[in-house]
Amino acid sequence: MEAPDEQLMLAYRDGDAGAFETLYRRHRARLYRFVLRGVKSRATAEELYQEIWIRVIEARERYTPQARFTTWLYTIAHHMLVDHWRQRGLSLVSLDGSESIPDAAADPQAQAAARQGLTRFMQALEALPPVQREAFLLHEEAGLTVAEIASATGSNEQAAKSRLRYALAKLKAAVDG
């Protein structure tokens, strides 16, 4: 059975580089998508993504497993995104997602409909207020509970739950629309 995240991070704190590599490979894709969906460009996302991990590395000696490692990781990511949004005036972001829209079927009409549906969904995701989009991504991508979202974002559970539900309602409307 694989070691839990917290144990791996403690091992890395104590000098085990292999533990970090295992930890990194577990979380790299989800964290990357979380950042990518929250910023304007892929280049910016890569820069922020790298910076998040650098901060994890630098903070390893202060790490104590008071919460889930995932919550701790995404708390760091949250702060990075907040700084990024603040510098850019919380403007809405667009994603270069055209290459990420898969073809649903060989039928051109079906493909077009699928693209339209995904485009609509992506636009709805982009149009969410940053705090709602972040709550959705923390829940959907990172797998955080409402309580953990509240902890990571420095808010309370009521606010986190509210943001998540508003986000879901808007995205649901985009799916059904």
Binding site: R13, E58, H79, R86, H139
Partner: protein, 222 residues
């Protein structure tokens, strides 16, 4: 996770957006940085004893001396305006976290460094981010000298750079709470750019520190 917080159709549509992953070169850079950091002997979990006990007080004293020397040099360059003396910081409370020296150092600011190359220096080099186990008490003169540049007005370019450097050195010897108070003071004075920069550096130094709501209202730009 409660079911009411998840909608299967939304989740499905979200997954259809794509399963992007970081590029391999980004993975390599991050893993290389992690290995370099792990190669440096990690700080002990308990306070050092014996031969290594002298590291931390010497490092703290060096920071204070350097900060005082820089600010003294600035004072000699230009007349010191009639500014109020900064209040002595409160005695460090038991809540002050024990901070271990960091072995991972960055190069120059990101814009000047290769995009994905992060370098760490070994522990032999006096770390700019070194901390004492407990932040040392500063003499009143050192406090005044260190605080004065932060309250001076526009200066020449070299003096301005020294001011920023001295402020950073002072910040590095502060507790998180004291740092936040300083940022709040900057914000109250309308010095938003400095406050933004200080807050950004605070986030870097304490990425998982949860700022109390009351303090957050004071340090964040409205």
């Amino acid at each position: 996770m409660a079911d009411e917080d998840r909608d299967p159709t939304v989740s499905q549509r979200y997954r259809e957006l794509g399963r992007e992953e970081p590029p391999p070169e980004l993975d390599a850079a991050i893993l290389a940085a992690s290995r370099r950091a792990a190669e440096v002997h990690p700080a002990p979990l308990v306070a050092p004893t014996g031969r290594r006990r002298w590291y931390f007080p010497v490092a703290a004293a060096a920071i204070i001396v350097l900060a005082a020397a820089v600010t003294f040099h600035m004072d000699r360059q230009q007349p010191e305006p009639d500014m109020p003396v900064a209040a002595a910081p409160a005695p460090e409370s038991a809540k002050t976290p024990v901070i271990k020296p960091s072995a991972v150092e960055r190069k120059a600011p990101r814009a000047e460094a290769p995009k994905r190359e992060r370098r760490t220096d070994d522990a032999r080099k006096p770390a700019a981010y070194s901390f004492a186990p407990e932040p040392p008490a500063q003499t009143a003169e050192a406090q005044r000298a260190a605080a004065a540049p932060a309250t001076q007005g526009a200066a020449s370019a070299p003096a301005a750079r020294s001011e920023v450097h001295a402020a950073r050195l002072m910040a590095q010897a502060e507790s998180p709470e004291r740092t936040l108070e300083r940022i709040a003071e900057l914000r109250r004075q309308g010095r938003h750019e400095e406050a933004d920069q200080a807050l950004k550096e605070f986030r870097k130094r304490y990425p998982d520190y949860k700022i109390p709501e009351a303090m957050l209202q004071k340090v964040e730009k409205k």
